[in-house]
Symmetry: C2
Subunit: 325 residues, 2 copies
């Protein structure tokens, strides 16, 4: 399976006949401007053994790779337009494994109807490595930035927090004491996070700032605060958690430290955002209509950094999320 | 040097203050449409030990990475707009090596005035790996495609052919018999190919189809033929070669096989293109005015595949360029 056969068999079908992709037979793709819209562009890379486990099947890896990029688009209020893919295949990655990877891409593309537009495949002696550059459309000037939070805004988060980090532990077999159902649920949340594209329109209409939760709630809320020149306060007891995370919490000696740990975990791919108090009710209602829970968890104030409270009292944070090196 | 310090010190300066980059503090970049223009997008990846030598300094690697992507834009008649970068740093890649890489990026960006718009940096246990997604502007509908060649068109190539492949051999110390000057020239051509952005306007105005020569002249001409549904014939004795390649040629027993080898080598990053016979003179003149030599080397005809002639007689080709796996 040389490069050209690989493109023909595995990747050309993923272009969905999009004219921009030129059947993946050209040096580049060409995207005509869409009057009244901006392009939102994000790029994320994943390395075997660093961002996913070597034993994870490649279709799941492909799906997660697209999902983490879709999560960035969702946070910006954008809608997927298409993507570019670079893959470095290690030795021994035969056609069946490559096909498995392509199958995973296809499933995610079908779910959100966007084509593969181009890319590059190379060989590597090292671990499997892939990067995606995902493009999305957003109405001109309406991308939701990190830097838009204002003094007095409410801090909110979508879905539940902490499942990503617990899910990694569950996938490694470290949480078997929680029971098979909780382990399966958490590991699945880690392996296949749900990008909150359903929230895009509500974010555009109501959020003053937003980011997705990849480095951890505390770190990503901190990014909003830093970009906006404000401090953020989080009420730990208000964090929305899943029933499986509640099982884990019940086994922790110190509930404050446990909630702080959930807020520091990465890989949740929820949306953390801010909104003016006056638009809170309509924001939460619009999110609910889109099928996404949205929970107020704190506020933005003049100041800097992220601080935490437990039932109204300040608590010290040991760390504010994962810092990748 | 954690991820955020790295962004602040090494990469934010490369954004050149472009508003689209949002100071590299957001999840994504946002690019406003430019009325009357299309976006041309290309993506290429490089792996240490596969696409460059492990002993190559990282500033040269960075420059080549951008240049091979710029070469794709040049072939499409586009002008650089900005780029996204994913890097996987191996263990032991300290701040000074990272800074060297950033210095190389900066030099190429300054030469063609385009900003870094976003990306991702991760760690890897394996070899250094990087991918670039480069965006360019082209007047709406005027991207030069591979699929535009017509029956009777002249086949042309820019600059000289074969230096890339000979340069790899020279860099490995396999061509010392050619003398130090030739070795230095060829190795430099391999390490720092010149993207033919100067040719962009002439290509838009005169070429019916174009591709850059990365896989080898025969293979990349073949891509034009395949995409256009035509066959291509190349007159090997017309291939433009450098004085250093002429030194090498003079030492080869079989000149036909030697020319065929030059045409099969990869990594030249010249432009192979087709043009109607009626526009040949004005095309060559426009290229010359832009400082780029353009040599007619064959023609496009009804048929398929690439065939070669030597002084008017058909010759068999052993292979049609590199096929990456």
């Amino acid at each position: 399976l040389d490069e050209f056969e690989q493109i023909a068999r595995l990747f050309r079908p993923l272009a969905f006949g999009a004219p921009e992709a030129l059947d993946l037979m050209d040096d580049a793709a060409v995207i005509a401007g869409r009057p009244g819209f901006d392009l939102v562009i994000t790029k994320d890379a994943m390395v075997e053994g660093v961002h996913f486990l070597s034993e994870d099947p490649l279709n799941l890896t492909a799906r997660k790779l697209l999902r983490v990029n879709l999560s960035d688009l969702a946070a910006k209020g954008a809608t997927p337009c298409g993507y570019f893919l670079a893959i470095a295949w290690p030795p021994g990655c035969d056609e069946s494994r490559r096909r498995l990877f392509a199958d995973g891409l296809r499933l995610e593309q079908l779910a959100h109807e966007f084509p593969l537009l181009g890319g590059d495949t190379v060989s590597t002696p090292g671990p499997f490595t892939a990067s995606v550059t995902l493009l999305g459309w957003v109405e001109a000037g309406r991308m939701v930035k990190r830097r838009g939070a204002r003094d007095g805004d409410i801090l909110l988060v979508s879905g539940v927090i902490g499942d990503g980090g617990l899910g990694l532990q569950a996938a490694k077999g470290e949480l078997d004491a929680l029971g098979a159902d909780a382990v399966a649920y958490l590991a699945d949340r880690y392996r296949l996070p749900t990008p909150r594209l359903a929230l895009s329109a509500a974010l555009r209409d109501h959020a003053s700032a937003a980011a997705d939760v990849s480095d951890g709630l505390l770190a990503d809320a901190g990014h909003i605060g830093e970009a906006s020149g404000l401090g953020l306060t989080i009420d730990l007891e208000r964090l929305p958690i899943s029933p499986a995370a509640a099982l884990w919490l019940a086994r922790q000696a110190d509930p404050v430290a446990a909630y702080a740990a959930l807020a520091a975990f990465g890989d949740d791919y929820e949306i953390v955002c801010t909104a003016a108090p006056a638009s809170l009710d309509s924001f939460v209602a619009a999110a609910a209509e889109a099928g996404v829970g949205l929970t107020p968890i704190g506020e933005a104030r003049v100041g800097q950094g992220v601080s935490a409270r437990w039932r109204g009292r300040d608590v010290a944070l040991a760390r504010t999320g994962w810092r990748h090196v």
